[in-house]
């Protein structure tokens, strides 16, 4: 996976609570056996109508959100199904960073494994970011090394991330490769388990 150290990008606001992975990538697109190419199906039932035409009333289809790479979401983002197709779709569409007050556990793990940085900020901070991105063409900078999010208007927020996740993301590491370096311990464990 691609390492992520700092990111500067256009923000897309999605002010909805409990956005589940069925909305992020509907089930009709889960039959593919590849990892790539899911971006075109992202939020499909919200982005497209029954005739597969773009819905003009869904904000992501508006020209001002072309090229977005930072998603600001609501509480409990990514709840429901464990489908990793959800982060694959978000990444393939262009999202590198997702900020929300909270994430569902499985989704949070799945983002990290794919080099997407999921950041928890307070409801208040998220409201500010949503508000800015709805009004203007708004860009944010995310510095993973310093664990900071900031804009050009003076907003700055620190965030927490488990040290392990930070290390994996900063270096874009292959986790299986690391685990296999513990093969002796695993074998030893298996002998007595």
């Amino acid at each position: 996976m691609e390492p992520i150290k700092t990111h500067n990008g256009l923000v897309y606001p999605l002010p909805k609570r409990n956005v589940d992975t069925d909305q992020i990538i509907p089930k009709q697109f889960l039959k593919r056996i590849e990892r790539a190419g899911f971006g075109q199906f992202l939020f499909y039932n919200w982005r497209f109508d029954e005739n597969d035409q773009p819905r003009t009333d869904f904000s992501l289809n508006q020209p001002k959100y072309e090229g977005v790479s930072v998603l600001i979401g609501g509480d409990n983002f990514g709840c429901g199904s464990s489908r990793e197709h959800a982060p694959w779709a978000l990444l393939d569409y262009g999202f590198k960073v997702i900020i929300a007050p909270s994430f569902a556990d499985i989704f949070y793990n799945n983002t990290t494994k794919n080099g997407i940085l999921a950041i928890r900020l307070s409801e208040q901070q998220v409201d500010y970011l949503l508000n800015q991105a709805e009004k203007n063409s708004y860009t944010l900078t995310i510095d993973l090394e310093k664990q900071k999010v900031y804009d050009k208007l003076g907003f700055e927020a620190g965030f927490d991330i488990p040290a392990y996740n930070k290390h994996m993301l900063l270096n874009g590491l292959d986790e299986i490769g690391i685990t296999l370096s513990y093969a002796d311990q695993i074998t030893q464990f298996e002998q007595t388990h």
């Binding site: 589940d20 069925d22 889960l30 593919r32 029954e50 429901g80 464990s82 499985i106 685990t179 296999l180």
Partner: protein
Amino acid sequence: MKQPKTIIEKIWEKHTVVQEPDKPDLLYIDLHLVHEVTSPQAFEGLRLAGRKVRQPERTYATVDHNVPTIHRPLIRDEVARKQMETLRSNCAEFGIRLADIDHPDQGIVHVIGPQLGLTQPGKTIVCGDSHTSTHGAFGALAFGIGTSEVEHVLATQTLWQNKPKTLNVHIEGSLGTGVTAKDLILAIISKFGVKFGTGYVLEYTGEAIRKLSMEERMSVCNMSIEAGARAGLISPDETTFEYLRDRRYAPEGLDFEAAVSEWKNLVTDEGAAYDHTVYLDASEIEPQVTWGTNPGMCLPISANVPDPALIEDKDERASVEQALAYMGLEANQQLTSIEIQHVFIGSCTNSRITDLRKAASVIKGRKVHPSVRAMVVPGSFTVKMQAEQEGLDQLFQNAGFEWRDAGCSMCLAMNEDVVPAGERCASTSNRNFEGRQGTGARTHLASPEMAAAAAIEGRFVDVRQVVAPTV
């Protein structure tokens, strides 16, 4: 004196392979269940890196999400067929047991694991499916994982995991007649919310839990994820041991007795501390029906649909308004006035033999309402055979239900079992998300008894008023 521990901590400690500072623990995985939808990319990853499956005998695969439930073995959907063929060739290449579409053990992965006795107390169990929490009913630590983690488990038989916080869901009292385990878990989620379990493993405790059968416990643990918890478990007891005795992959004879004495230690010690505890009295619970677009949007059958105008919090009001618009419901409408066009009895929540018997007990002699299309999808081929031996297939079909082959089916509508846009389904499944049962479809979650009663009446009714109490 030994530090008292929760069952969750006991299982965790027994499976920790590596513990180092600033890292999650490396946790050993006893059983890895695999299905066709979340595994192809994982096997491809192994192939690209030239890796093997570390423990094929700890891995078990089946097809469930995509499989047609009618006219087998013909699979008309090309893309689905390719996905199933891919699992077949992957299992052959990597030496993994597969209960394929024509195999007598085929079924929903969370139905067959317990049925075969693969699921056992104290095990760590994972699967690329969020309803893996089901297996917690046996006192196992079982949770859903993504495809990258599926690949990791295939290659290493381990996962890096942060030790979860523990949450005691304590349910006192007894469920009333006509009130089911499904109503209990829906009531828990609606009372405490769809994220109260995030970051936790739930342990269900209390008198009401102890009285549940194994299959009822599975329905409860199954929906832990709908409360945000990756895993939810119940300490094993005689009910658990009796269920497991003589199952194919359970220990046999003296080994079984030895296993039972080991399993009896899988209890939370007196005085062990949970990070959090919530309480509910089972006797207060009525049959439940969801009205909205997540499982927490749920009310007792006697209630009315909520009125957004009365909700102060603006975000909460907005989500209720959106849900009502999607569901095509009016504020303050009685739940019993909601007419349905489809009934689905099935899914990893409610497709086991006792679920089918309970639905059948409501139907007996009655007919499906003329404006309703109803189907029963048994959770496994074994469940189907057993039901047919008991004559349940005839009973359902005589009433007007379709009787299908085993699979996930209309729970997520990846196969041809789809609810059309704008139509309404009473479903015994676990998710009422937008589009879950078909684009634009409207899902109402309920127990098998409530779904069966809705099939007869064409609208939701209190099942307790439809059938005379059986006990």
